[in-house]
């Protein structure tokens, strides 16, 4: 055998070993489950679990906000078809109604559990991680079965799932297998014995079904987070809203909030704190609207208990707001725009109106190092969620149509450097970056 052939053989051997490792990593922990799946037939059409289990599943589906992705705007709930833009192409959500052809009609409970826990479809194919199975892997088998029972109780909708439009190589099973070997491991939720049952319930919901870190964490070039424990904030890919850190008091950390305030924000989308009104905006408004407003006070309280302890995990040296050491430059343009367009609601001194308009003075959403949300709220306006407990919200007008980038930059610079605010200046280029994104 020549040296070259030996080298080739060695390379093939290494490749083979790597491939075997990837395959092994992709099916680890599935031994018993495979047997259960083989031995379990999907229940016949029209099968119904007990009302109690179905109701629990419906509640869990709210906690997981499954409907948000698995419904198209204006379409039947859970029938899928929503386009989810990713840096790798567009993923279309699947049909979760019990339609035999297009939905879960031929799925068994253990197959559904395998999807949640192992990220594999009924036919064994690997699912794209746009489905946050890195989080749902933590869901208990009992909760998975309840979710399954609920989804099987829905009216079947014969709507075909649209094939994903991912770019090569991300559209291949091999790429998914490699990604999973690198970043995914099926896990059970491990309760922390040093913490209360309340804290552990909150951790289970936040890290698992709630999949909070799907937005509130940064992602690497291949779209992976550092796992469900990382809630350090991140720019939501393609959407360009910044999901602020839940572990940093200068962003959206709640270590110094009352538990009742956190519960109120998640329950109603708004809370009047001593410092003024705080509302959930952008994608978080949608989360309150479609998910957290339906959760029990006990579960929201548990989530609050868990979130309050996250501050301790944060690196206190990391600067969330870049301190503005220099005195602010004179900014007559920003000042005038503020007086003309903003002051009647937000006050001459950025003090806001309790219950209606957020204060801008001392508001961390205004001074945050990453200005994405501030820019977008001014460009697009918006309402806080119209939820019971905070109905008929006061609206913020969109200014993207009437003010140009220079105007908005001057205005935001004024907000970020006035009334004691210590934020950085905003440039027209930064404003332009967030125009026209959804």
């Amino acid at each position: 055998m020549s040296a070259r052939l030996k080298l080739l053989a060695l390379a093939l051997l290494i490749l083979g070993a790597l491939a075997a490792a990837v395959v092994m990593l992709n099916v680890r922990g599935e031994g018993d489950l495979s047997e259960e799946i083989a031995a379990t037939a999907a229940p016949a059409a029209g099968w119904r679990a007990s009302d109690e289990v179905i109701a629990r599943g419906a509640y869990l589906a709210r906690a997981g906000n499954c409907q948000a992705c698995h419904s198209a705007r204006g379409g039947a709930p859970y029938a899928g078809g929503r386009a989810i833009e990713t840096p790798f192409g567009t993923v279309f959500s699947s049909n979760l109604t019990p339609d035999a052809e297009h939905g879960l009609g031929r799925w068994s409970a253990p197959q559904f559990w395998r999807a949640l826990h192992h990220g594999r479809s009924a036919d064994g194919r690997l699912l794209t991680p746009a489905f946050p199975y890195d989080n749902t892997t933590l869901v208990s088998r009992a909760d998975s079965d309840a979710l399954y029972a609920y989804l099987r109780s829905l009216a079947p909708v014969p709507q075909a799932a649209r094939p994903h439009e991912l770019r090569f190589p991300f559209n291949t099973q091999v790429a998914l297998a490699v990604w999973r070997a690198l970043y995914f491991e099926p896990r059970e939720f491990q309760a922390d014995a040093s913490q209360s049952a309340d804290w552990n319930r909150g951790a289970y919901l936040v890290q698992g079904l709630g999949h909070c870190n799907a937005c509130h964490a940064s992602r690497n070039a291949l779209g992976a987070t550092h796992g469900p424990l990382d809630l350090g904030g991140g720019l939501i890919p393609m959407h360009n809203w910044y999901a602020p850190s839940l572990a940093d008091r200068r962003e959206a950390g709640v270590a110094d909030w009352d538990r009742a305030e956190i519960v109120a924000l998640l329950k109603t989308g708004a809370v009047n704190r001593a410092s003024g009104l705080v509302t959930a905006s952008g994608p978080m408004g949608e989360v309150v609207l479609r998910s957290t407003q339906y959760l029990s006070e006990a579960d929201l309280g548990a989530m609050a208990t868990y979130l309050q302890t996250l501050g301790a995990l944060a690196d206190a040296t990391q600067a969330a707001t870049a301190p503005n050491a220099k005195r602010p430059k004179p900014n007559p343009r920003g000042e005038k725009l503020y007086a003309d367009r903003c002051a009647t609601c937000h006050g001459d001194h950025g003090e806001g109106v309790p219950g209606a308009y957020a204060p801008l003075a001392g508001n961390r959403a205004v001074t945050m190092r990453r200005p994405a949300n501030l820019v977008r709220i001014v460009l697009e306006g918006g309402f806080a969620p119209d939820a019971p407990g905070h109905p008929r919200p006061f609206g913020m007008p969109p200014f993207g149509q009437t003010l140009d980038n220079e105007d908005i930059a001057a205005l935001l610079t004024h907000l970020r450097t006035s009334w004691g605010n210590q934020g950085t200046e905003i440039s027209a280029l930064q404003v332009n970056r967030y125009r026209g994104t959804r």
């Binding site: 408004g285 109106v353 918006g382 008929r392 919200p393 913020m396 007008p397």
Partner: protein, 268 residues
């Protein structure tokens, strides 16, 4: 006028009247007091009203929803409440395709959207003068013909058959056609024709718009935009007796308007 309104009005007056009325000497003497007063009074004139809540709408749609001159963000004031409500639903549920409206109304529930519709419907605001037509006489005649009589040969019903003789619509669900800019009418009929704008099924206006050629749409927009809005400039309060709609419309409740050739009519 509410007490808050009155208070705010008085505040504004007391703030700048002296500087206008008094002589330079007096003004100088009063300046400090007046300025102090103005600063103290400059707190937001906040009112816990629907109008206050809906400033998110009026920035683009004009004060009290009277429209702005650009021609694309239409008037809201005085349009029938049910029609406005249905449009808000259509934006929220993606039957109408305009991202900024969809993201604005996305977090709002049906009851609030209904309230928003009723609020703008209740506003009685003068209409702008008509737009001078720029089309040929033949085009305008075609437009008027379509509005008054339709064109049976291509399956186009007369606009007036549903939108009323005065073309100001029928409460609560059918909008008026006058007092709207030509660009807006063109854009909406065009969008309906190519499916960008939709309504609840059955989408009668889509059917009507598809029966029109681009030239017809231009003729309609030219003629409609050139008509003055006559008093009382309001939609008919109810569907006229003995009249049938030519097509079933998902956005119009059947109790309000029976459909020709149907006993029970369409479902909503």
């Amino acid at each position: 006028m509410s007490i808050t309104h009155l208070k705010n009005a008085l505040r504004r007056v007391s703030c700048w009247l002296p500087t206008r009325v008094h002589s330079t000497v007096l003004r100088g003497a009063l300046l400090a007091t007046v300025l102090a007063g103005c600063v103290a009074q400059a707190a937001p004139q906040f009112e816990n009203t629907t109008a206050q809540r809906l400033q998110a709408c009026t920035t683009c749609h004009g004060a009290q929803g009277r429209a702005t001159p650009n021609g694309y963000q239409p008037r809201l004031a005085g349009k029938p409440a049910g029609y406005l409500f249905h449009q808000l639903l259509n934006f929220r549920e993606a039957r109408r395709d305009y991202g900024p409206m969809t993201s604005l109304v996305d977090p709002l529930g049906d009851a609030y959207l209904q309230e928003i519709g009723e609020y703008f419907a209740s506003l009685d605001i003068a209409y702008p003068p008509p737009q001078a037509a720029t089309a040929s006489r033949a085009t305008l005649q075609r437009g008027e013909q379509l509005v008054r009589h339709g064109d049976a040969s291509q399956g186009t019903p007369a606009c007036q058959q549903c939108h009323g003789e005065a073309m100001m619509g029928v409460a609560p669900d059918i909008p008026g056609l006058l007092g709207l800019p030509r660009d807006y009418l063109n854009a909406q009929l065009g969008a309906w024709r190519n499916g960008k704008r939709q309504a609840q099924a059955p989408d009668c206006m889509a059917q009507v718009a598809r029966s029109l050629s681009p030239e017809d749409i231009n003729a309609l927009s030219q003629w409609l935009a050139a008509q003055a809005v006559a008093a009382p400039a309001k939609p008919l309060p109810e569907w006229p007796a003995n009249r049938k709609m030519p097509l079933p419309c998902g956005g119009v409740s059947i109790e309000a308007a029976p459909v020709a050739g149907s006993q029970t009519g369409s479902s909503r």
